[in-house]
């Protein structure tokens, strides 16, 4: 599966660069959106079939929220640490980290702020986070643990990474992943502008 993922991205990149006309760009978002909805629909069926799992989450209670909280803090700190190795400020590093793998949103927010180079960097670093995450998920699930897989996925745990999470972990973790992904996703448009404002 990891190889197929790699291949899909490479083939997409090559066809985007050589064959696909630029005019497709707009409809691409719509196509991806439809694909995502179909995917989520089937992921939903999978989750629905796991009866009794909802009770597990209820019994876990608010503690489940520690997973997205740790993910957000870890990602922002990770971005700030990265800023010491590359040519960006500590605030920019934190902002890039706070994208949590949601590359379209973080890139859009930053370009709206007039930070074009940073926007491209946000796009790439968050794409990489998602792709690297998907590739190493089977290994991380086996060697480190299931919640580490969820945390790695960041905001993508609720959509694009969810099928891989459900394939490499278990149904219970998949539910936590979705909860974590929803909270991470909601946090990106709030935290990213705040970091840019505070450090900018």
């Amino acid at each position: 599966m990891s190889f197929k993922i790699f291949l899909a991205v490479i083939l997409g990149g090559l066809s985007g660069h050589f064959f696909v006309p630029a005019s497709v760009s707009g409809s691409l978002g719509t196509i991806a959106d439809i694909g995502l909805l179909v995917l989520l629909f089937f992921v939903g069926i999978d989750i629905g079939k796991q009866k009794g799992i909802l009770n597990t989450v209820r019994s876990m209670g608010f503690k489940v929220l520690l997973v997205p909280l740790a993910t957000i803090i870890g990602s922002v700190v990770g971005g700030m640490v990265a800023s010491f190795f590359i040519n960006v400020s500590i605030g920019e590093g934190g902002a890039l980290g706070s994208g949590l793998g949601w590359y379209t949103l973080s890139a859009t927010i930053l370009s709206r702020e007039g930070l074009v180079a940073l926007s491209a960097l946000a796009f790439l670093s968050n794409v990489f986070r998602e792709v690297i995450g998907l590739i190493i998920m089977p290994t991380v699930a086996k060697k480190l643990g299931y919640l580490e897989v969820v945390s790695m996925a960041g905001a993508t745990a609720m959509d694009t990474s969810l099928p891989m999470i459900s394939a490499t972990t278990d149904a219970e973790t998949s539910i936590i992943a979705f909860v974590s992904g929803v909270i991470c996703t909601s946090s990106v448009p709030i935290i990213l502008p705040i970091i840019i404002k505070v450090f900018g």
Binding site: K4, G35, F41, G44, K51, M60, V64, V77, E148, D159
Partner: protein, 101 residues
């Protein structure tokens, strides 16, 4: 508002799917191939993501320099997310996850 609408849309479709799954409305061949359908959707999504990257000239032209920086950032965010979740893991231990810190 757009983000909120997306969130509601994603949650809505997932909820509809969950209701269908919970009430066992999916049967036969379709039920056996749910995993395959998910894989195909995922690969398709990644393919379209690749096209978006390939279409963006500015990104393609500076791919190497931007790519290296992006790699450092993504690796750091992944590593620190894992470290952070390990710190709270003792409070959220799942049954299937036998790897304890």
């Amino acid at each position: 508002m757009g983000i909120l609408a997306d969130l509601v849309k994603y949650l809505g479709i997932l909820f509809i799917g969950a209701l269908i799954g919970y009430n066992d409305l999916v049967k036969g061949k379709l039920a056996d191939n749910l995993g395959t359908i998910q894989d195909v959707c995922l690969l398709f999504l990644l393919f379209t993501m690749g096209i978006s990257i390939g279409l963006n000239k500015e990104v393609v032209d500076n791919l190497l320099g931007l790519g290296l920086k992006a790699l450092v950032i993504s690796v750091c965010t992944i590593v620190f997310s894992i470290i952070a979740v390990r710190l709270v893991k003792r409070f959220v231990q799942t049954k299937g996850d036998t790897n304890e810190f």
